[in-house]
C-alpha cells in the first residue's frame, strides 16, 4: 500500500516539476503587479509581437511589494506601485529612470498625468490605471444625496446597520480627515480628535469592515459602503439600483504606475513593455479588464461601450475639485493614525 502510493507520488512529482521551474529562462519578462489587474490578452499580444514571454506574479499591498523588492533577490523587472508610495521607491533608488529612446510612446500620456506630484515630469513611471475611492449606495434603500461621506460617517436611518467599510486604514482615516475639514496626512490634534470621535460613533452603524464582494452589494446583503469606483461599476452592472457617490467633503484619487526596477534582470524587455502599454489600444485593454481609467490619450476609442461615460469613470465636473491625490504620510502621522485605527477596531 505504501510502496505504490510512494511510487505514485514520485511519478507525479516528476511530471509536475517540469512545468514549475521554467521562469528564469532567457527572453522572459517578470511583471510584479496587483492581483487580477493584468489582462492575459495583453501579455499574449506582447509575446506575439516581441517574442518575449511574460511571467506575472501578484502582490496584494504596496507594503508587501516594497518590502519584497527592497530586500533584493526577487527577479522582477517591472513593478506597479500606487502613487502614494512612488516617492519612496524613487528615493530609495529601487526603480530606474525611463529610457526615452525605447519609450517612444511617452507623449501618449495625457498632459494632466505627466506633471504629477509623486513623480514630477514622469522621469521614472508611466500610468497603469487610476481611480477613486468613494461610496456605493443601494438607491432602493436610500434615494437622498449620495455625494457625501455622511453615507458612512453619519449614515441616514435607512442605511444604519447596513454599511460596509473597507478595512484600509489610510483610505478611511483620510476620508474622515477630509470630512472634518483637514488636509490629508495632518497631525493637527483638533482635527484628529474629531476624526476619532466621528469614526467611533459611526462604527455602531456599520455591519462589517470587509472588502465586501461585488456579490454582497448586488444581492443586497450590504446596503452601502466605502468602495472603489471600478468594483462599484461591476456591482452596478449586476444590480442597477447601486450608485457610486463622490463625497464632496473630499475623496482620495489614486493611480497605479508601472516602473522598471533598478535591479531588473531584463531591463531592455522591461522598457519595451512600458512602451507597449502606452499604446492607446493596449491601455484600453487594461481599462476594460480592471474597469479603471488609464490616463493615455486616445484610449477612449477602444473602451468597452459600458465604460464610456459610466458614472463611476467620469467624475462629475462639480466634484472634480474634491478629489485629491492620496499621499504617503509622515511616520508621526502614521503612528497616530495606527493608534486611532487600533482604538476604533479594538
Amino acid at each position: 500500500m505504501t510502496r505504490s502510493a510512494f511510487r505514485l507520488t514520485l511519478m507525479s512529482l516528476a511530471v509536475m516539476s517540469a512545468s514549475i521551474t521554467a521562469a528564469n529562462a532567457q527572453g522572459v519578462l517578470n511583471l510584479y503587479n496587483w492581483g487580477n489587474y493584468t489582462p492575459p490578452e495583453l501579455l499574449e499580444k506582447f509575446t506575439a509581437e516581441t517574442g518575449i514571454r511574460v511571467t506575472l506574479t501578484d502582490f496584494d499591498s504596496n507594503e508587501t511589494a516594497l518590502t519584497r523588492v527592497r530586500q533584493g533577490g526577487h527577479g522582477f523587472d517591472i513593478v506597479v506601485p500606487s502613487n502614494n508610495v512612488i516617492p519612496v521607491w524613487i528615493e530609495e533608488g529601487l526603480i530606474q529612470p525611463l529610457d526615452l529612446s525605447v519609450v517612444t510612446n511617452f507623449d501618449n500620456i495625457a498632459p494632466q498625468w505627466v506633471d504629477v506630484p509623486f513623480d514630477p515630469g514622469r522621469e521614472y513611471t508611466v500610468p497603469w490605471a487610476w481611480g477613486t475611492t468613494g461610496v456605493i449606495v443601494n438607491t432602493s434603500l436610500y434615494d437622498g444625496d449620495i455625494n457625501t461621506s455622511d453615507i458612512f460617517l453619519n449614515p441616514p436611518p435607512a442605511l444604519q446597520g447596513r454599511v460596509n467599510v473597507i478595512p484600509e486604514m489610510s483610505d478611511i482615516i483620510t476620508m474622515a480627515i477630509y470630512a472634518a475639514g483637514g488636509e490629508s496626512c495632518t497631525t493637527d490634534r483638533d482635527v484628529l480628535r474629531t476624526v476619532r470621535d466621528t469614526l467611533v460613533s459611526a462604527k455602531q452603524h456599520w455591519i462589517a469592515m470587509d472588502y465586501g464582494t461585488v456579490d454582497a452589494y448586488a444581492a443586497g446583503d450590504i446596503g452601502a459602503g466605502v468602495y472603489w469606483n471600478g468594483a462599484s461599476m461591476r456591482a452596478r452592472l449586476q444590480n442597477s439600483d447601486l450608485a457610486y457617490g463622490y463625497p464632496q467633503e473630499g475623496f482620495p484619487v489614486w493611480m497605479d504606475n508601472a516602473a522598471v526596477l533598478t535591479d531588473a534582470p531584463n531591463p531592455e524587455a522591461a522598457m519595451k513593455f512600458i512602451n507597449f502599454i502606452l499604446e492607446p489600444e493596449h491601455a484600453a485593454m487594461i481599462s476594460n479588464y480592471a474597469r479603471y481609467s488609464n490616463g493615455i490619450l486616445g484610449s477612449e476609442a477602444y473602451l468597452d461601450p459600458e465604460m464610456k461615460g459610466a458614472p463611476e469613470i467620469d467624475v462629475p465636473d462639480a466634484l472634480v475639485g474634491a478629489g485629491r491625490f492620496s499621499e504617503s504620510c509622515s511616520a508621526e502621522a502614521t503612528n497616530i493614525y495606527t493608534q486611532i485605527w487600533t482604538e476604533l477596531l479594538q
Binding site: M1, T2, R3, S4, A5, L8, T9, S12, L13, M16, S17, S19, I20, T21, A23, N24, V28, N30, Y32, W34, G35, N36, Y37, P40, T55, L56, T57, D58, F59, D60, T64, T67, R68, Q71, G72, G73, H74, G75, F76, D77, Y211, T213, V214, D215, A218, A219, A231, R234, Q238, A290
Partner: protein, 266 residues
C-alpha cells in the same frame, strides 16, 4: 427495535458525526453547483454552463498557479512527513534525554507564531541568501512549507506512536530480527495510519499557506492562495469555483487511485 449491543457504539456519536459531515459538505455542494452557473454572480442561478471551466482552462496564470500549488503541497508534505516520522521515532517511547525540551520547542515553533511574522523573517533571511547565491528557485518555498508542515505532520504521528504498545516489536527483537527489519515489518505498518494522517494534514496545510508564500516567492512563483489573495480586494469570479471543483475532483481521483492500488496489493 432491537439493536445489536455493539461494543463500539456510543449513543449520539453517529448522529453528531453525520451532522458534521453534512455541515462540511453543504458549502462544498453550493460551490460545485455554482461553478456551473451561467451568470457571473455567485448569488443568482441563471442556467447551466461550462463557461467558467473554459475560462479557467484558457487562463494560463490560473493553470500555472494551480499546478504549482499541487506540486508544492505534495513535495513539502512528503518531506515534512518523512522528517516528522523520524523525529517522532526519536522522541517517543524513550526515557527523558538531554535537549528533549528544546526539540519539542523547535518542532512546534512554526505553529506558535502568526504566519505574517514567519513570513517577514523568512523574507529577510532568504532574500540575503538569494542575493548571495543568485539561486531564486522553488527551493525556498519547499523549505519554508516543509518547516511549516512538520509540526502538523509530527503531532498525529506521535499520537499514534504513543498509543501503540511495543509488544510486537519486543517479540520481533526476541526472535533476533534486526532493528531495521523490525521497523519495516512491524513498526512502520502499525504506524501507517498516523503517517497517513500526518501526510494529509501537511498537504492541506501547505495548500492553504498563503502569507508565508506571499513573502518568500520570487518572480513567477505564485501559488493558488497568493493568486486568490490578489483577488480578495477585487472581484472573485466563478472561475475560482470552477478551479475549486477541479481540485475536489482531483482529490477524489487521487483517493480512488490510491484505493484501487491498495486493493490490488491486498
Amino acid at each position: 427495535m432491537a439493536r445489536d449491543f455493539s461494543i463500539n457504539r456510543l449513543p449520539g456519536f453517529a448522529s453528531v458525526a453525520i451532522l458534521t459531515f453534512f455541515l462540511l459538505y453543504l458549502p462544498i455542494f453550493t460551490l460545485v453547483v455554482f461553478s456551473f452557473n451561467e451568470a457571473a454572480s455567485m448569488s443568482r442561478w441563471e442556467g447551466f454552463s461550462l463557461k467558467w471551466y473554459e475560462a479557467a482552462f484558457q487562463n494560463r496564470q490560473v493553470r500555472d498557479v494551480s499546478i504549482r500549488s499541487l506540486w508544492l503541497a505534495a513535495t513539502a508534505a512528503s518531506f515534512a512527513t518523512i522528517l516528522a516520522t523520524l523525529a517522532a521515532l526519536g522522541t517517543t517511547r524513550t526515557s527523558k534525554f538531554k535537549g528533549q525540551t528544546m526539540i519539542y520547542a523547535l518542532i512546534n515553533q512554526p505553529l506558535m507564531v502568526p504566519e505574517i511574522v514567519t513570513g517577514v523573517a523568512l523574507l529577510i533571511f532568504f532574500a540575503a541568501i538569494k542575493v548571495q547565491t543568485g539561486y531564486t528557485g522553488m527551493g525556498y518555498l519547499v523549505a519554508a512549507h516543509t518547516a511549516f508542515c512538520i509540526p502538523f505532520a509530527y503531532l498525529p504521528i506521535r499520537a499514534r506512536l504513543e498509543t501503540m504498545d511495543n509488544t510486537l516489536e519486543i517479540a520481533a527483537a526476541d526472535l533476533y530480527a534486526g532493528p531495521i527489519k523490525t521497523f519495516v515489518h512491524i513498526t512502520l505498518p502499525l504506524l501507517l495510519p498516523g503517517i497517513f494522517a500526518g501526510l494529509m494534514l501537511g498537504f492541506v496545510i501547505s495548500l492553504d499557506a498563503v502569507v508565508i508564500t506571499e513573502f518568500v516567492k520570487s518572480a513567477g512563483q505564485d501559488t493558488l492562495p497568493t493568486y486568490m489573495l490578489g483577488q480578495l480586494r477585487r472581484v472573485v469570479t466563478p472561475e475560482m469555483n470552477a478551479i475549486a471543483t477541479l481540485f475536489l475532483l482531483l482529490s477524489v481521483l487521487a483517493v480512488t487511485i490510491f484505493f484501487v492500488l491498495s486493493r490490488k496489493r491486498a
